[in-house]
Symmetry: C2
Subunit: 293 residues, 2 copies
């Protein structure tokens, strides 16, 4: 692939995820922090309206608004914001972005998660580089979840989402702040090395890739009201194996609801606050070991 | 003191604190769970409007709206709600509450915190009873913070707030759910024993009482924009001693801001999401050992 000419760093795609918001505002005030010699860096608040209200969104989730087939009304703030961003940074925009780095946080125990939407060679090499420099990262492939085509970062041909947690929306965890900054800087270094063809030799890198399978919802009644929660044995245990029959939910009345699947899976995004309204208690993944030469 | 005739269990005083909301909805559907022989129990959503929108409040914080000197406009939803609740459950209301048990949660690492607004003998005896049965509880005195006169529970002559955390708003932690239920049931048992004069003999109980002193704000610029966060060494360390000169905040640029006070204090409510807008990073307390005979 060719040169990366413009990198977009986005925070506040969800207006209550403070780490990305404050990081972007810092880079806007001090652009030298994210400057590299071989590409332009633009730091941007994804959803400034929702940042003002400290809410995920105003009318609809901006990070599900970039698919032209989305069924949101055209008057929605986020639909208009998506059009503005597409006209500026999309492939046919005024200043197209070649790479988008989107900074997110979650109430789930994600640790430091890299979200890959595509498993092309460039993206896998980036993930390998980041895993090598930051062995604590977890690598999640969202391919199949829809984020390939409806997320803000889908505007660019190459992208990475850094997702950190557990973090209550509207707050900052200093450890997750520092981790986000470190991964971001290493990502910019990688892009610079790529452009200058100075990527150092490294040994083959092996990491676990958690590939999206499907979502599961909480127990609910016919009207959609919540009837239970994550089982205490499963709470905060993202990335750990879930076997058929394992306790998964606990109803408010104390009844255990086991996992009804037929194979071992690896849940992520367990108990994300913003997913209650989407009918998602957790995402199931399969775990694959990947070696990048 | 006399008989407790009516107990109000309130959840959803803040509309995004799910444990209290779902607990109250469960008690409304299954009132036998909170029934006792010697008093009437009423389970109530404090702020049903904010529950609908899954936000702390609609116009202003309901739990700061019960002081007639509050400066909110009379048209605010919560001011009207406060008047409705006062007319029903206040001392001159249709069905006055003798005891209010208010269920809250916080993004701070509160553990299981009992909040006492008053340090009268009845309330201290209740706290001792709960400490005896649930040694994991922490006891916090809010006297001096304003909650004595502006909170929903200030409608009743006697009250208790159960505050659990860390919990992201809009989510449920199953361990904190179970702890809330257990403390609530023990509280109802205590009130029943009090009414029936059947409180069992117990040894003197000693517990630590964390008494509110003052609040501290995050580093901010002149316009009020956040400039930093809780220092990594202090993050999640509620109830632990903070000594003069200890690292307290870390600016986004990496500068350490030490605690400038002159004596040892014990922070609580560190990094509560809803307090960012109030200009509160944490509450300082002094720790006293109390023995209840």
């Amino acid at each position: 692939m060719g040169t990366i000419n413009r990198v977009l760093i986005v925070g506040g795609t969800h207006g209550n995820e403070f780490i990305g918001i404050h990081a972007v505002q810092r880079y806007q005030a001090e652009p030298q922090l994210v400057r590299r010699s071989s590409f332009e860096t633009v730091a941007l608040l994804g959803n400034p309206g929702a940042v003002t209200t400290n809410t995920r969104y105003l009318d609809c989730d901006l990070n599900r608004s970039f698919n032209p087939q989305a069924h949101w009304p055209g008057s929605a703030y986020e639909v208009q914001r998506a059009a503005t961003l597409r006209n500026q940074f999309g492939p046919c925009g005024d200043t197209p972005a070649d790479f988008i780095l989107d900074l997110h946080s979650t109430t789930a125990n994600a640790g430091i998660m890299l979200i890959l939407d595509c498993l092309d060679g460039f993206t896998l090499s980036l993930a390998a580089y980041l895993s090598h420099h930051h062995p604590e990262v977890r690598v999640y492939s969202s391919a199949g979840s829809g984020r390939q085509s409806d997320s803000l970062r889908s505007l660019a041909p190459f992208r990475l989402c850094i997702e950190v947690g557990p973090l209550a929306h509207g707050t900052i965890n200093p450890h997750l702040w520092q981790a986000t900054e470190a991964i971001l800087q290493t990502t910019l270094d990688y892009l610079e090395h790529h452009n200058l063809d100075t990527l150092p030799q490294r040994p083959p890198i092996t990491f676990d890739l958690y590939q999206y399978l499907q979502t599961l919802d909480y127990p609910r009644d016919a009207a959609g009201h919540l009837l239970g929660m994550i089982h205490p044995h499963r709470h905060l245990r993202d990335y750990e194996p879930l076997e058929p029959g394992d306790a998964l939910f606990l109803t408010f009345g104390g009844e255990v609801v086991p996992y009804a699947g037929e194979s071992t899976v690896y849940p992520v995004f367990i108990n994300e606050a913003a997913y209650y309204e989407k009918g998602i208690a957790l995402c199931l993944t399969e775990k694959q070991q990947v070696t990048i030469i």
